[in-house]
């Protein structure tokens, strides 16, 4: 029981240290290429961003987004905490999505 409490405390400390991440994805992800990583900063309580937005340039030929993951590691969280949110760095990872289902060749129907 003591170990469970200690584990819970440790977990709480880790999660409250400013680390965060959240994943957005569709119900049937179909990834095109590999994830692309962009370092981003948000300033003045999110009033200013650098870059202002992330353009998913690796998505080609009508590809949309399959997955977006926003991550803040311990160091990034610490900077945000120390600057009271004036500087809030994060890592953004996006994956392109295959555009639709290719038709079945060979006269096999769709």
């Amino acid at each position: 029981m003591r170990q469970l409490r200690a584990a819970a405390t440790c977990g709480l400390l880790l999660t409250s240290a400013g680390c965060m991440q959240y994943l957005v994805q569709p119900p049937q992800p179909s990834l095109a290429g590999t994830p692309q990583t962009v370092q981003a900063n948000s300033y003045l309580g999110s009033e200013v961003q650098q870059p202002p937005y992330v353009l998913a340039q690796r998505c080609r030929n009508g590809e949309q987004l399959a997955r977006v993951l926003v991550r803040r590691n311990f160091g990034q969280g610490l900077i945000s905490w120390l600057t009271l949110g004036m500087v809030a760095p994060a890592t953004i990872e996006y994956s392109c999505a295959n555009a639709g289902e290719p038709p079945l060749g060979g006269g096999g129907g769709s």
């Binding site: 170990q3 469970l4 200690a6 584990a7 440790c10 977990g11 880790l14 991440q21 959240y22 994943l23 994805q25 119900p27 049937q28 992800p29 179909s30 990834l31 095109a32 290429g33 590999t34 692309q36 990583t37 690796r58 080609r60 030929n61 993951l69 991550r71 295959n98 289902e101 290719p102 038709p103 079945l104 060749g105 060979g106 006269g107 096999g108 129907g109 769709s110």
Partner: protein, 511 residues
Amino acid sequence: MATQPSFNAKTRWKNFHESYEQTIVGEWDVFMPQQASGLTVADLKETSAQFQKLIAEARKQGLKARAVGSSWSLSRAPTTTGWTFNTNRLRGRLKVPAADVDPLYPGSADQKAGLYLFQCGNTVADVNKVLESDSQKRALFTSGAANGQTIVGATSCGTHGSALEFGALHDHIVAIHLIASGNSHFWIERKSRPVMSAAWVKGLGATLKRDDDDLFNAAVVSFGSFGVINAVVLETAPRYLLETHPATAKLDEALWKVIGALDFSAHPLFKTAGKPYFFQAVINPPTDEVLIMANYRKEGPASHQANYDLISDPKSIGPGFDALSTVGVILDRFKGVIPAFSKIAAQQLFDTKPKTGVPGEIYGFKPPLLHVASGSIAVALPDARRTLEALIALYKEIGPVPLVFGCRYTRKTPALLGFNKFDMGLMISLDGVDSENTRKFFDAAADRLEAKGIDYTQHWGKVNAYTPARLQKAYGGNVAKWLAARKQVLPDAADRAVFDNAYIADRGLAG
């Protein structure tokens, strides 16, 4: 006209589960030709030419190269220090017309009607969706537990499947289109099972190789070492449904008969339903509680609208994408909570809700998890019980390990270096969280089986401890045959060097 490959000067590559990273020189995105009415031979030729150009350029620049699909592998099999070729946009597919099948094809009329060519970037999920549609009414005979791997990535690493009366996932494959070098590409089949007509292969511009069975049996499980596999032809089954029967049972003598010998006659869970099509037992070593999954095959209905969606409960809260990396650190420090954690993890890693659906729904999309640890060991069914007892004893010696043992059973594969080496094999999937104790357990497991004199193989796409000596012991003369087959398609050492990596070098398979 296809979009030309596009270079990305990315130098850090990581696998899907983020269990390791690799420094590369860059990656090439390869695109599918526009297809108004489906994949054609001309499309395959165009992609082949693009790959040949990239391979030739890699050789010219003295770079290594590898094709990568979903980067699903937990082993370093797909790694390269040079260029990666992303194949997961190459999702062309076609139903093989009867007119293109070789007159000597020995398959039945049903098998002939169920031949499909899939380009390398199709995932297992893609394959299932195509086959299981109402227009095709076909299915894979067997499947891995996940569906995010590309069909070529999963099969090249020897994914073992899970049906009691079928072999590995790669045993669906009957033809391979291999781009070996800047000036060669091959259409490889078994001599004993010709599939595509010589005229069709000539139209593709590939060199037909079916003088024996060995070359095919080597190339089908070659983890990217023979070149780029552009496409494969699969044999398929008529569409069927699986009805899952999950249960929890005590690890008593009756259950040992099931797990250790596939004797379903004495256990109350199977008295009525009998032998399933698929059987899995998940052992949580510190307890005597076993999660059972028995799936029964039912004839497919005339019409079935499959729902492949990853279903999530919007009210739920649970571990997220990267939870296991933190959990591993915590469990290293608080080992007392591991047995309870393993029980929860088993329920998360293995689907325990009853359902009925086509195989693509049963082995469907799952929430992604990072930093998982997973290795698999295969042994002959007669060695099943003593192997499990040895591994449970090792688990207890090392101390609680955040791992559970998933037991699945499959038939032998003809692939020379196939994981499914045994006539009837038990595949023990050691699944859990990457932690200090987990790594200790993986390191010690192979030694323990050797100390007990148990013949075993390891999964190429998961954490494994293969060495040249262990490979020789597991596969004997097949290793030399595999190396000879590689030289058959890559006779020039400089061409072989392009596809060498540390993973195969460490196992004595490079050069």
